[in-house]
Symmetry: C4
Subunit: 272 residues, 4 copies
């Protein structure tokens, strides 16, 4: 925040780039977001053979323009912050670097340009920018709910992983290495495709026993898909209730559970 510092040009630059409570800061954020999105669209279009053949030249120039602008932004971020190294090795610092390196690498290394798709990672900055808007509370809410349920989800995922390895191995035995179940890893891949109900159909059981095991697996998958939902819903309900009801205690009767907007205790009528 650095609100006590004298307003120097470096300070003003910092506020524009890293904060968004000023007019310039907001404009910078919106412009940056538009730039990131445009650069991703260009990389996307360039990956389509038809467009590459026709507009490849234009895309090439645009990509260098984006690289130039992102490099400029990167340098400005470096000089306007007090501890540059900390930014460089931060999550967003690394992503920002990953977005400009491939272009420069492509001068020396043929094919390095294909790494430009990593620019898509910069999209995550959207959530940084969102922070400033009224979505903040909702994001906080989602983050808390997911964070508190992470332990349970981890255990659940471990159970699913064991299940998938065991049932995948069983299918490898049952289908005898035939019909696409050529190896245990391939069979595990099939098991994941099945238990998550994605069901590509690139590998499907052919033998009767295999179909039976597969049916069993689908039923298991059908039943356990309910578990992560149950976990997250329960945590969300608690988070939502916590947000609504205060943890204040009534001075008259000592009871809790009052609403956030309560002025008097709902049990004994004492002023809170």
């Amino acid at each position: 925040m650095e609100k006590a510092n004298p307003i120097t040009w470096r300070n003003r630059l910092h506020n524009t780039i890293y904060e968004s409570n000023t007019m310039a800061g907001k404009a910078f954020d919106v412009a940056l977001l538009a730039l990131i999105m445009s650069s991703i669209v260009v990389v996307m279009l360039d990956s389509i053979d038809e467009y590459h053949d026709r507009y490849g030249r234009v895309f090439y120039i645009m990509e260098w323009a984006f690289t130039g602008l992102f490099t400029l932004e990167y340098l400005l971020r470096l000089i306007s912050i007090q501890r540059p190294w900390r930014y460089v090795f931060s999550f967003f610092g690394l992503i920002d670097l990953l977005a400009i390196i491939p272009s420069y690498l492509s001068i020396f290394l043929v094919g390095a340009q294909s790494l430009l798709v990593l620019r898509a990672l910069r999209l995550l900055r959207v959530f940084r920018i969102f922070k400033l808007t009224h979505f903040l509370t909702e994001m906080e809410f989602l983050k808390i709910s997911i964070a508190t349920s992470l332990k349970k989800i981890t255990i659940f995922m471990l159970v699913v992983l064991s299940l998938v390895i065991i049932l995948g191995s069983v299918m490898y035995l049952v289908e005898n290495g035939q019909n696409g179940f050529t190896s245990i890893p391939a069979s595990i891949y099939w098991a994941i495709v099945t238990i998550t109900t994605v069901g590509y159909g690139d590998i499907t059981p052919v033998t009767t026993v295999g179909k039976f095991v597969a049916s069993l697996m689908m039923f298991i998958g059908y039943g356990i898909i309910a578990v992560p939902t149950g976990i997250i819903t329960t945590e969300m309900a608690f988070a939502a209730r916590r947000r609504k009801h205060g943890h204040e205690t009534c001075p008259g009767c000592g009871r809790e559970g009052h609403d956030n907007d309560a002025v008097f205790c709902k049990f004994c009528g004492t002023l809170l």
Copy 2:
């Protein structure tokens, strides 16, 4: 509502067409619904080559009959309402127009008739008509729950969108533009098919690394499908509780929203 106006023919027409508290109004609604459904069934059947060859002539006549009736309805709606332009540019006004235009266009423009399928949009009028029945409360309930969770769902969808762009781009790199992953947009399409657990199987990973990334993605999809469910369930539970409790009014301050177990008003301390 216009209840103060003298009962003129225009007024009666308005009541029949726009309201449904009269016998005629209800009959009009039911007849309209039947007409819309019949017209959609005819368009559907006409799209099947076999039936088109055999009954094409009959369908052609029926479609003009429906167009005639819908045009008549449109005109009646126009003359019976006080501000016709407002209806014309309203959501349902535009859909009503879209349902009759293609037929007239087809006189001048070959192929415009295929736009007749837009008539399916008129199906949405079902919900207009439902409003009148005892489904109203339930619809209100669903609408409120979904509206309050819209912000959270939006953030969630943005996360999924970023994920899908990033993982799609990664797969384009991993599968090296082969095996259907011919461009980044195509790979993103695959990523969406995978993360939503639809899993057509028209594009599937072939390389080992690709299968590994795909497996990871399915697990992510499996875990996060729980999030929108959690959001909507929590909001519904709150909406349901709100509907059940808290409609008591405080005799002291006239405010609502008290808990079931409250003895004193939480706002002014009066005994409830």
Copy 3:
């Protein structure tokens, strides 16, 4: 129940067949269930060409044996009940009849035997028999939760149906009647396969616009699959709470919300 009647042979037969509080009644239920399952297994095995060729003769005899036993059971049910016609036209009465008719029909009509698969409907009797066990409360609970949410689910299904008709029609236009989208009904079938996340892959979009519409549809499907879950979960939570907490009012303070096992009011300590 007919508990006041003198115990005649007809009465005892009725108790054995329709009730299950006697030893004989329980034995009858278990035997019937075993018989139904065996008959279904025989029909299943007979449908496999390989087995039909080898054991067709045996299956034929067994099917007639089952038909004989089921006919006997049907007649016994008829003579042991007071109002036979009521049973004949009841849900289970019709199913019981459907299970024996195809065999007799097959004497006169070639191919009627294939209707034997309708015998599978008798499986529903399992739930009749379950009624007697300790699963009753749980079944009641599930039935109430689903019944109370039926109205909301109906509206939801109507929304999905409209969506599927509209988006199916749009896809028919977009894919121009090619690539499997040969007619509007076929496109609607594809839309249902997509929005329910089944995703067979027998029809898939090929054009870029088609893939875009499909992606949109999958996202919609991903979001709205949460709605029926939310509805049922909320209803279940209410049903569960209702079952746990009594609706008794305390004579001392007039408050409700006591647990089922409560002896004293938890608010004022008065004996309930």
Copy 4:
């Protein structure tokens, strides 16, 4: 636990192998887990033809090394426990045996080595080891929620099973044994693939009636997938609430289970 016994070597061995409150016990558990995982990875890699051809010899030696270590572990477990037979016939005892038998069998029986994949079952020991960490409470929580909802889930699964048999049989009739619906079991397999929304696409309806029945089935599947989620979520919410509240003991009667807002014991009326 055996805490009263004098510390002998056998006792110390028991503590190291079966418990994990000592340093040695923890080290043993981690080493065992690493060993199990390595052995599974080796079996996996060996199942890939390419690796088998190149490193088959190395894998062979490693598998015998793992077998030797697991045999040693098995013997140590046997001699360090007081009732060896009880361990041998316990769930984990049988799995431990199943993990070493195939190797020895392969000396006499060609092909028995393929049963090595059963080693994957040892992965379940992960959860045994997890017990010791802070995941215990969360695991307990998940286990309780799932256990209490098991009865409801069982009924639900029975309904789904009946539905799948009935609708599978109907499809066999409708598609007339063609298009992959070659037998009733095959059609039931298809029905399971459809209702669980897996949707491989290896068998798909071709006739119009078949597509209609399939669409109906997908809608049913879409609606009822909400039921197990609802069941588990409700149970989880109750389990979570129980864990949060109600651990206060009444000074009068010593019973627990009071609500958060209770002032008097609901069992004996004593002031809490």
